[in-house]
Subunit: 345 residues, 2 copies
Amino acid sequence: MKAGDLTTPALLADAAVLERNVATMSAARPGSTLRPHVKAFKCTSLANRLAEAGHLSFCCATVREMEGMAAAGLGNDLLLANEVVDAAAAVRLGALVAAGSARVTVAVDSSATIAAAVAGGVPEVLVDVDVGMPRCGCEPADAARLADDAQRAGLKVRGVMGYEGHVQHVVDADERAALAAVAMAVLAGAHAEVGGDVVSGGGTGTWDCNETVTELQAGSFVLMDGDYARLGLPFDEGLVLLTTAVSVRSGVHAALDGGLKAMAMDSGDPRLVDDYGGAASVLFCADEHTTVAGGPWKVGDRVGLRPAHIDPTMAKHEVLHLVDDATAGGDAEVVESWSIDLRGW
Amino acid sequence: MKAGDLTTPALLADAAVLERNVATMSAARPGSTLRPHVKAFKCTSLANRLAEAGHLSFCCATVREMEGMAAAGLGNDLLLANEVVDAAAAVRLGALVAAGSARVTVAVDSSATIAAAVAGGVPEVLVDVDVGMPRCGCEPADAARLADDAQRAGLKVRGVMGYEGHVQHVVDADERAALAAVAMAVLAGAHAEVGGDVVSGGGTGTWDCNETVTELQAGSFVLMDGDYARLGLPFDEGLVLLTTAVSVRSGVHAALDGGLKAMAMDSGDPRLVDDYGGAASVLFCADEHTTVAGGPWKVGDRVGLRPAHIDPTMAKHEVLHLVDDATAGGDAEVVESWSIDLRGW
């Protein structure tokens, strides 16, 4: 099947780019030194490609992702790199352990999250440490106390995690490395007090400069996005939203049938795959359309867009179509169609 | 069931606000003078409430919405207010007509869209006219020719449509009305040449100043959002994302477990339902979290957020929970849970 036969908007992934990106990351971070972050793609078929490349430990952001990965036989070592305080959610995690379908580790950063893990039957935890981004994670000075509390409550403390999310998108590589070093010094300090085998953190932006973590929590590298592309990393953009030009005012503008319900807008507008040497550009996105200017389009043309942010774009689609060349528009050959099966909560 | 028993993030709709907003709109635009726009809420259960209020004609933006509305028995008069050029999509629309499950009208603005309607077996069309927003719609001067072409091709031309989307969010009411009048003069001019019973257009922002349309295409008014709330319309905000504070740095910030995968970001950050007299505020949204500052929160608290844009927020969720008081956090009583069943394409 050709991509031109798909109902648009349709999300395409370039098979060769995916393979190349995974190979590049695997060479630098082999086996369990990479803990691919499922939140970036929410797709067990794509996770299987990473498992085939030797990465059998995964990182999740939601309970639904944990359940889906376990159901797909990818439960070898699942980390929920997020805090859980809801009793029902903790019970869902514990049920995976009781069923023998997953090894489950959860992040804790408070007495309440430790209590939830115990009550839900989650046996293993990492102490989540704030390394500079105001989100989750305990004060570094509290890490040792929380680890003691967790152990006393019967939990196995595997180590620490800390995500330097505020550093990932710093464009200058030297500045990014310097900021990552500051953040990771905090995590290393907490690890010295907590102990354990695992120091988990990092992401696509710090893939080559984070020397502290024993496992890198990266996901975006698999298909990249416009925001990460600015960093000049050796990973290529492989994600394209294929649209159809449904209305064309010749020489003025065209309306494409994919808009902000099909692409994430938190990192800005998408870019055109083919901007005709800079002669064409995106004007704005509406709910169901993207208006573009300057191209030679005619009604019915298939037009590709590069989303600015991969994670929430994937979460908007039911299917990801793996194609031989995502830049080929409607002429691309569809190799496989993968369910984006880990959406929701 | 209490909202506090739901897994968060959970999307809540205030039952009383919904009822009041529908009553206000129905009083001004009764029966078929309102064609509610399904794209705003993507939920047949909510559409049923509008049907119960006497509105039996609906407006859709996607083929999936058309199919879902027909399947739910709401196919009395469905307008796809969007252009279709894809042959398979047109066939899906024609199948609804052939099955007798819907009256189907589609927007046309080019020879290609007329040809698709004919080929797909869609019997009725509106000529879509550009009234000032660069998206879909023909040049006004082309409307009569397209209507003739459609009629010669065997289609019934019911009239015209034109959406003054560039006017909807103008905050000043007088300026909004003046701009709407300019746009609608264009549509009235096209209508004079095309003929037909239907002049379709408008939205929540021009609900009381668009004097031209025979039917108003409004949807956001049902539950509103932060962007429309700035206009001071007599519709209340009724949509809340209920989250849980999963990590709290006392007196500094809290991380709530709903972020930009659960709320649309194209119109900016959400607001807190309760900002404690201005003492608390949203700092930023990440994929799975919203970081808020200044509140008295403790881990496990349920915290409500008001999304900035209703349409794409609804599209991110599987379920909308109708509650007695969406501002009551975890104490709200869940009256009904509605499937958001019209997502996708």
